[in-house]
């Protein structure tokens, strides 16, 4: 596993340029250009506002401004997660030419897909930041948790992208399964609502390792509370294990890529 990461480090310029290619190509010949990076999280935030408004109406409570900002804070990482997995899954298949004709450390393909989405995430994070400033959100020392949370999310996303990219190379079904799961995953993940809504059942929701990260995000940015260490620790452990498994699995399958694609 270390030798793989070493190889990626040695070819970091390749990773950089492939990431740059993904970003450049995505925005070439498009009218909206970089605005696309904001559109996806924008739609999620908008949908979240409607859901939140409906919740508030149904329960007869008034809609607090923190409800709205917490949706915004959770929507951006969620959009990053979803589109990274989506592009990561097809990253090997869509580079068939390079996989079969030129030798590269193939790990760069899913990693570059995630990195290019991370670039979009940074843009949308900027937008979320300006929303927070407009809403007059206060800041606290808890904000220092954000790098840990984002780091865990990125590790987990990379791991899944690596696994799915290799799996879909062998079986095209994987692409469709992933697509379906991603479409409905927003219902199993506390993006529009908080896990507390489920009351005693909330741990069930937090088993999804992305959930504690989103909850922790809202907690440290909006509510100025330290995240739940148990659940955050759980997410970090899952991310670490997934990453190790992903790299080793990818490594085992790598020799068969050129023939089986």
């Amino acid at each position: 596993m270390l030798s793989n990461l070493q190889e990626i480090y040695n070819r970091r310029d390749l990773l950089y340029i492939l990431t740059w290619r993904e970003i450049t190509v995505r925005y070439k010949q498009s009218i909206m250009g970089m605005l696309w990076a904001v559109l996806m999280p924008g739609i999620i935030i908008f949908a979240g506002l409607i859901v939140r408004y409906a919740f508030a109406n149904a329960s007869g409570k008034s809609l607090a401004i923190s409800d709205l900002t917490s949706v915004a804070v959770k929507a951006a990482p969620w959009a990053f997660f979803v589109s990274s997995i989506r592009f990561g899954t097809t990253s090997l298949i869509s580079n068939t030419n390079l996989v079969t004709k030129i030798y590269l450390p193939r790990l760069v393909f899913p990693l570059a897909a995630v990195s290019s989405q991370f670039f979009d995430f940074l843009i949308s994070a900027g937008v979320v930041l300006s929303i927070l400033l407009l809403a007059g959100t206060e800041w606290s020392i808890q904000i220092l948790w954000v790098p840990v949370i984002v780091g865990t999310l990125v590790t987990m996303t990379m791991a899944l992208a690596v696994i799915f990219s290799a799996a879909s190379l062998f079986f095209r079904d994987v692409k469709y399964i992933v697509e379906v799961i991603l479409t409905f995953a927003i219902f199993f993940t506390p993006v529009f609502y908080d896990s507390a809504v489920l009351g005693p059942w909330s741990p069930l929701l937090l088993i999804n390792p992305v959930s504690p990260l989103l909850e922790a995000m809202a907690s440290v940015v909006i509510h100025h509370q330290a995240p739940s260490f148990v659940w955050l620790g759980y997410s970090i452990a899952v991310a670490g294990c997934l990453f190790t498994v992903a790299i080793n699995l990818f490594n085992r399958l790598d020799p068969y890529f050129a023939e089986c694609i």
Binding site: R11, D13, L14, Y16, I17, L18, R21, T24, V25, K28, Q29, N97, L98, T100, K101, I102, Y103, L104, F170, F171, R172, D173, P255, A258, E259, C260
Partner: protein, 419 residues
Amino acid sequence: MPDNVLNVEGVFKKFFRGELFNSLRDLVPAVANRWMRRAGKRDLERREFWALRDVSFIVKQGEAFGIIGANGAGKSTILKLLTGIMKPTAGMIDVRGRISALIEVSAGLHQDLTGRENIYLNGAILGMTRDEIRRRFDAIVDFSGLEQFIDTPVKRYSSGMFARLGFSVAAHVDPDVLLVDEVLSVGDYLFQRRCLERMHSIIRSGATVVFVSHNLREVAQLCQRSLLLEQGQVEAIGPTDEIITAYYKRAQRPRSNGINGNDSNVTITKVTVHDDQGPRMEFKSGGKLYVTIEAYARSRCDDMSVVIAVVDDLQYKFFDTCTQRLGADAITLERDQTLKCTFEMDLPLAEGTFHVHAYLHRYLTGAYDRWFSAATFFVTGAPEVRGIVTLHPKLKTCHVSPTPDEDSVGMSSSDLLGM
């Protein structure tokens, strides 16, 4: 003693004929099948075949090594194993140093990016760092001859420009081992020349080169040693000249019949090259060559002449003649008659490989029968000339004028000749 840069030992490679299971529902039966039968690594299952069988060779530091063989002999598979695109089914491959392949050099180009952007992209894909690309950028653009179009998206390029861009980047990677597979057919004549020169300079710089080609003359020019592959197995390894000779001797030459080949009334049955002693393949430059053509008529044919042509290894026809032009009458064959005619020729040829085409020609209506590359012969014994023919050069004078300041110490022509 120079180090072995490439060490290939007992390499086997198995391929699957037909489609792999590509959906989950196909996986279950396939896995069950494999588990039940437990086939070993070196056993072939149904629909599998060996692309390479027990291939071993060594390439030394700074050597240019050729791999020749017919289509499907496994040449490209070897290169793919050497680059690491594929792994061998069994056996060991040991490569020392940075390996770079002039194979599919345009695969890394992206249609939507400009030439400039693609140089960075392709350079990184072929193993250069951004810094290296930046330093060689001007040289790459210069080599490609695409200065004017460097900021145009490559989707607007012609296919020739596209290939040139890819090759130009690849040619500027500094490899320890360079693998080349028939890329020299890129671009126009001038660009091909530039590519060949570039390869020579890479070889001179001490890199190790593995060269795969059907163009045997190029192999002979570049490589000291070669490997002959036949159906995935090593047939011979040795000095390139001997290997090329072996290749032609082994090659089964299928009759390529003309348009009206099969239903023709008369067939060329045998073409032999020989000297006054008997059949042979090697001839001395300046000696005599005899070509004998035999034919058989199924029914009456008239007004025929026998044509022979000699082509070089690139199929360039530089000579032909026929019985009629040599003063014979038109030939008429009755049913079941046979024809045997022998041409005698001088061989003012340079060293190389040549092929004989034979035709039975009918005045006005065209060919009765034709046999391309009916025989092959080699010419040796003219080391002083290169090309197709020898014009029998002799050095008359070669004199260097004395240097102006030290005119007493002039270099004599014999000094020059001794160099």
